[in-house]
Symmetry: D3
């Protein structure tokens, strides 16, 4: 059985992430989407909210598990008996950072493999930070994120 | 009549911005240079200072209006009956960010067009942040920025 | 009146080119799509075929003129009283080549302006060379090119 | 059973390719390394030589099949019941070309997935073309390619 | 006598920096490794710690001097009678930032030359920030940094 | 004594090359500008013409020697007792190719150092191929190349 881990900050999860996740779930027996909770890297959303929004968004994909981790991703992967890390790729600046992380993880754990998946073209320019910015400025994000995330941000805006 | 908007943080305006603005002013009936004033993105200069420095720098270009905005740029553009957003391009990292913003704005307002203009070669490596850094360290920025900006930063340094 | 020139080899014209052309036609009074016919740069299609395929593809855009040129684009633009060159931008490698050409053209003709337009996301990865390759290998290009081009390549394949 | 295809021109196969192949062979039940034989893309080596050099280099990896194909890779993959295309990634220019091909293949066959694997750092700057160039100029390529390829090029050089 | 300066934040110094320093020390009569101490750019390590870790790491290279500076690097270089600035290059994003700085320094001091050196391939993906991140998460950095830095970070982790 | 080699195809030499050469000549005791004459890489100019144009262009720099070479650059450098290869850097695509060559040369000859120098901003977008293209189309290249090259191309055009 091959288990893959899809790690990230998911602040919040977008349609681009969901697309990568769906692809990974077709390729591997089990995919764990794992939210990074290192206290030094605070996001906009707290991690319980992130987990809830992800759980709602992925409930229809049967072989996906939602989890959180802190510490080194390669240590977490070993604990979960996962052989593969899955990452999405969009732009050149992504590419360089991801190469750096992939090489470092290979250094720390040579048997771990990092796989890069490409999202659909309509997600090429989509990112969590642009979603937050557009929503905070009153823009419509309903075509960019899962329904649960859209509802959450709409409620946030109403409260402010 | 075609109205173009040249949005940015202009923290401070540089000779590269002035060059892009001059080119846009030759192409369109009216160009509005619009300073972003979202409270979550504090710059080095407060926005009144930015506006004053810009006003002095562009007073000789007849079809330029200086303004500020907050919220979504596409909403501001609609209010101003502008059809075009103008952006300058320098480096690969610029390019990727600008593509992302252009696609997002097209998503939010399909009839809005983003045009990229290229500055003169001598401005290829010029940015607001490098201007601030050089000036704060006591370097001469007189060839990099309009006279009003140079005077302002020289006074700042004298006070400190 | 502002006249823009959209130069290229268009070997063949794709939906990405048509998209850029439509955007330019909304911004300027007249757009000339100009096929480069320098004898040292032979394409796959001869230039009469290119012109015919373009004419059929753009016949519904009223302010577009189809033409060919050889020699320096800035000389051709002067002859046509055009003030603007229009170019599409997709990837980083495009970006660097286009910057080089834009700076060279500014050098040769300082009053000429190069404007970059961004195509829709679905065209981000589309190019004339990939269209030719896919079609020659028997793939379906009907969603990538105008109808006239699709018919032309289908006939070509039938003959072979 | 998941079958992956690793397509390429392999002109010649290098240690970088072997590294990517080994990684893919650990992840999937079967990996087909498939040499492109389109007559319009002649390489330095003829395709029988390429196949022989690959066969010798991969004979110790049990779940690898060596094959050739022409036409569209997605059609070949369907015929082989393969769900996955595997590609190696090194540099930014690679990245952009590979993204273009991945999007085109997704267009032609939506259920096909392209996976990118990263080679070891020592292979980051290794390519078939640089191997050929170094060998033709009399340089030592023994640390860059499998033994069979090294022997073949040494014999070539002796004959010339 | 040619004196070169290798400026940086060295937060902490890595094997990649040591490699660049060794290369520079073979090319020039004297190399000054100079730690930037501008108060507005606080690092993880205080600058006395940085200097001590560097001194221990380079004590076997005879023509290297360890120093710190604030203000403009070109002013510091003049004071030290240095004609050359040395910088390492790894990735595209490095490259663009370094080009910008090199052009700005040439602007401020035309006779100053910036030289770029390339580190060994195994250091291509190594950076101070990734070293800190891995160490703070409990990973082994002994192959990435000089012994003194490794000991320092191990002690830090033990204390926390 | 430190000898540096500045290798290239120089087809033709441009003001960008001259600028890099001047900088190298200030840093090293001797600089050999070495024209690659591998028969498999035919340029536009034959190599005797290239050498003559270079000799005329650099006759005022006292510590520059003009030469040609074939075979591996690292072998040629050893024969000339040179410790350093000098290269110019302009764009991202340059950067990746140059990194690949630098790593390969380090592989073939570990004691050889490749140094990258940055040309003036006005040369950032200048290349031999764009110079040829502009001249062949009747454009003025007098500000882009040394006088000898400009005269040579003007004569060529007159003859055609």
């Amino acid at each position: 059985m091959t288990t893959a881990i899809y790690p990230g900050s998911f602040d919040p999860i977008t349609n681009g992430h969901i697309d990568v996740l769906n692809r990974a779930a077709r390729l591997f027996d089990k995919v764990i989407i794992a939210v990074l909770t290192n206290p030094s890297k605070k996001g906009f959303l707290d991690y319980e909210t992130k987990l809830n929004l992800i759980r709602e968004s992925v409930k229809d994909i049967s072989n996906v598990e939602v989890d959180s981790f802190n510490g080194l991703i390669v240590e977490y992967a070993k604990k979960k008996n996962a052989q593969v890390l899955v990452r999405g790729l969009r732009a050149v600046t992504d590419f360089e950072y991801e190469m750096q992380m992939a090489q470092m993880n290979k250094n720390l754990s040579p048997e771990m493999e990092t796989l890069f998946l490409v999202s659909n073209t309509e997600n090429t320019f989509l990112s969590s930070s642009i979603v937050k910015e557009v929503s905070m400025l009153g823009g419509d994000i309903s075509k960019l994120v899962p329904e649960s995330v859209n509802n959450y941000f709409n409620n946030l805006n109403r409260e402010i």
